[in-house]
């Protein structure tokens, strides 16, 4: 754990992103959203698996973009990454765990 990491370093990390950078990120995110909607509209032609795969990759990219650049998690203090990534892992565990358990409705105690 980063002990006494100096504040100025983080501050610098923020300043490194000029407004132009934010506009660029914003534009990329907008494009991703457009692509998402576009493939949604044509999903019948590309097949369900491919559609899901693209969609997941795109939205993970989008979410990562928001978290890393708008929320500045990239380059910010390690502790922030920790308190966000750990619960995110638990959340994914929970979601996948629940979906697995509920998809296979065993009916046998053992």
């Amino acid at each position: 754990m980063a002990e006494h990491a100096t504040h100025d370093q983080h501050a610098e990390a923020h300043e490194a992103h000029g407004t132009r950078f934010y506009w660029m990120v914003g534009a990329i995110l907008a494009i991703i959203t457009t692509i998402e909607v576009a493939i949604f509209l044509v999903k019948d032609t590309i097949g369900h698996e491919l559609f899901l795969a693209i969609l997941f990759i795109l939205s993970i990219a989008k979410g990562a973009g928001v978290v890393m650049f708008f929320m500045h998690l990239r380059g910010d203090a390690r502790i922030f990454q920790l308190v966000f990534i750990v619960p995110l892992t638990f959340a994914v565990t929970m979601c996948l765990g629940f979906l697995t358990i509920f998809s296979n409705y065993g009916g046998i105690a053992g």
Binding site: V86, F90, T93, N104, G106, A109
Partner: protein, 647 residues
């Protein structure tokens, strides 16, 4: 409490007052120590209530076919007993002691967010009062502490009890999350210079771990109970199979929270034990980092074992095998703790004070509870033991034999610091032995009757099953248990009045809280200490013995002081502490009133008037919250170095 108050006021210029009880300085306080004491006292009151409920249950079960309680009352009692003990006793007691001790241990003047801290205590009390109001309004919750669907749906549980349960626990849940956030920030960000993460006392470590568990575990419970509220009041059907819902979903949401919850109850206590054992063995803790990281490991593993409470629901052998294996793995880090505790005492100078006896009793009883947990973690065995008194035995061995005995250890250990008076050791030891023995008399036979087929949560049983004698013994044990608690109350009250006056460091301890006067002044440290090892005070007292302390210590000695000149003490008035404020209390009150409104928002009890009144409550609540937030902002500006007036 009178003496404690007197002591506090005598040393703290901020609260100097005389005459009658200074209500204002308590109700509007933002001092972590006062808030800690309010937590501790109210949790103890709830302990009595939960204990009285348990005694009533035990009287009913003392003989077969007993008619002392009706089935309905019995069901309310065990639901409220468990809810009280878990949410209104052990959790807030942990928070209370943590609140008092953690900032002192890390060399901070207060919690990171003192006003939020005040909000937590009042919200917790609001939630507790709301829960207990249900007794007066037509029936307490009666669905068991895990409120299995669909029994808790409105058609099977038509009284408002379950609504009180949902909203009462909702309030305490918000209080817990706010409190946990406060602990996280305090521990991570308010440490004195040199108090690095790997020098923090283990009690602080465990509070940090538990705070993370709280903020990650409570949300699923919140979602589950919101969904339950929607089912009961707003036309949902999340957990109602008759309308397409799923009863299993509730169980998963609940236990995803519920299992981590049991570690929320035990880990802070394990932290206390890890402080007390070294002090009374006059040795450092054995394997500091193993003990710390096993706590972290337990915290992580606790999130992947939830379905071991559901081996019988038919998830299939694969899922059960996974959760069984994960549950068993938890024995490893727990074992590491136990062995390290024993190793800490090994070759030490073990002084059997009351606090130490309780700490040893904790280990001893927890081993039994942990091992019975391992048998439960084996699904085939669990299928015989689940929902029987065997589980009741397990949970009391870990919760009473574990948490409660450990909390008594903490109480005897820190009481001098909190009140300035020593508890009577002789009475304490008598209390310990009565409690330990009667605890076993009460709960050990439950293993046996469970194995002999006695299901749990039955309000009565027929004669001739072989359960009668054991149940009678358990009931007798309960009365001795209650007696031992009365002894404790006597000890506290008489010691407050004429107990031996406590010095700064009555136990020859090692951590920072013992450098301060007992009780500490409102600003805690006159000069923030500079820490250079895991045992700053010990090293200051025993420089020669500190020599081999190369674990986590730098060569320079810690700078801790506990004697100040009058001149220096006079300088304390320049230390700025946040001012008294009622806003947190008003905010909590508003939320409580709004919650009361939500209990009745869709009830047909008196037709339209009820709903109008309920809506009125909600509106009043919202207005109070709004007013409080405004006041809060204004108050915090007063303390801001940039926006406030100068002091």
């Amino acid at each position: 409490m009178a003496i404690a108050e007197h002591k506090l006021t005598s040393v703290s210029p901020a609260t100097a007052s005389s005459g009658s009880f200074p209500w204002r300085t308590w109700l509007a306080t933002v001092d972590h120590k006062k808030i800690g004491i309010i937590y501790i006292v109210s949790a103890f009151v709830f302990f009595m209530l939960g204990g009285i409920e348990a005694m009533l249950m035990r009287v009913q079960l003392g003989a077969p076919n007993n008619t002392f309680l009706s089935a309905d009352v019995y069901n309310q009692l065990f639901t409220m007993h468990a809810t009280t003990m878990i949410f209104l006793m052990v959790m807030p007691m942990n928070v209370g002691i943590g609140n008092y001790v953690v900032p002192l241990m890390i060399g901070a003047r207060d919690m990171a967010f003192p006003r939020l801290n005040a909000m937590s205590i009042w919200l917790f009390l609001g939630g507790g009062l709301l829960l207990y109001m249900s007794f007066l309004t037509g029936g307490a919750p009666n669905g068991g502490w895990f409120a299995y669907a669909p029994l808790t749906q409105v058609q099977y549980s038509p009284t408002s009890g379950m609504d009180y349960w949902i909203l009462g626990l909702g309030l305490t849940g918000i209080a817990s999350i706010a409190g946990a956030l406060n602990f996280i920030v305090t521990v991570l960000n308010m440490r004195a210079p040199g108090m690095s993460i790997n020098r923090m006392p283990l009690f602080v470590w465990m509070n940090l771990v538990v705070s993370f568990i709280i903020i990650f575990a409570f949300p699923t419970f919140t979602v589950g109970s919101i969904e339950l509220l929607f089912d009961r009041q707003f036309g949902g059907a999340f957990f109602n199979p008759a309308q397409g819902g799923d009863a299993m979903l509730w169980q998963h949401l609940f236990w995803f929270f519920g299992h981590p919850e049991v570690y929320i109850l035990i880990l802070p206590v394990m932290g206390m034990i890890s402080e007390i054992l070294p002090v009374f063995s006059r040795k450092p803790i054995f394997g500091y980092s193993f003990v710390a990281f096993s706590g972290v490991g337990i915290g992580f593993l606790g999130f992947i074992v939830w379905a071991h409470h559901m081996f019988g629901v038919g998830m299939g052998p694969m899922a059960n095998a996974f959760f069984a294996a994960a549950s068993m793995v938890i024995a490893i880090p727990t074992g590491v703790k136990i062995f390290n505790w024993i190793a800490t005492m090994w070759a030490g100078d073990v002084r059997l004070t009351t606090a130490m006896l309780y700490a040893i009793g904790f280990i001893s009883m927890f081993i039994i509870g942990g091992i019975s947990g391992i048998t439960l973690a084996s699904p085939p065995i669990d299928l015989q033991q689940t929902d029987s008194y065997y589980v009741v035995a397990h949970l009391h061995y870990v919760l009473f034999g574990g948490s409660i005995l450990g909390l008594f250890a903490g109480a005897y250990y820190w009481f001098p610091k909190m009140t300035g008076r020593m508890l009577n050791e002789r009475i304490g030891k008598i209390q310990f032995w009565i409690m330990l023995i009667s605890f076993n008399v009460t709960f050990f036979p439950m293993h046996i009757v469970g194995t002999e087929g006695m299901p749990r949560r039955i309000y009565t049983y027929e004669a001739g099953m072989g359960w009668d004698l054991w149940n009678f013994i358990e009931t007798v044990g309960t009365f001795f248990l209650a007696f031992s608690i009365l002894i404790f109350i006597y000890n506290v009250l008489s010691s407050l009045r004429n107990g031996e006056v406590a010095s700064n460091d009555p136990w020859d301890a090692a951590t920072l809280e013992w450098t301060m006067p007992s009780p500490p002044p409102s600003y805690n440290f006159l000069h923030i200490p500079i820490v250079n090892s895991r045992r700053p005070l010990w090293d200051a007292k025993y420089p020669h013995a500190a020599g081999d302390d190369h674990h986590g210590a730098s060569s320079a000695p810690s700078q801790v002081r506990y004697e100040y000149t009058d001149e220096e003490t006079a300088g304390a008035k320049d230390i700025h502490m946040p001012s008294l404020t009622f806003s947190p209390m008003i905010l909590s009150g508003g939320l409580t009133i709004a919650a009361l409104g939500f209990v009745y928002i869709n009830k047909d009890i008196l037709g339209l008037p009820t709903r109008v009144a309920a809506l009125g409550f909600i509106l009043i609540g919202i207005v109070m919250v709004a007013i409080a937030i405004r006041g809060w902002i204004v108050d915090s500006r007063k303390d801001s170095p940039y926006l406030g007036q100068h002091h």
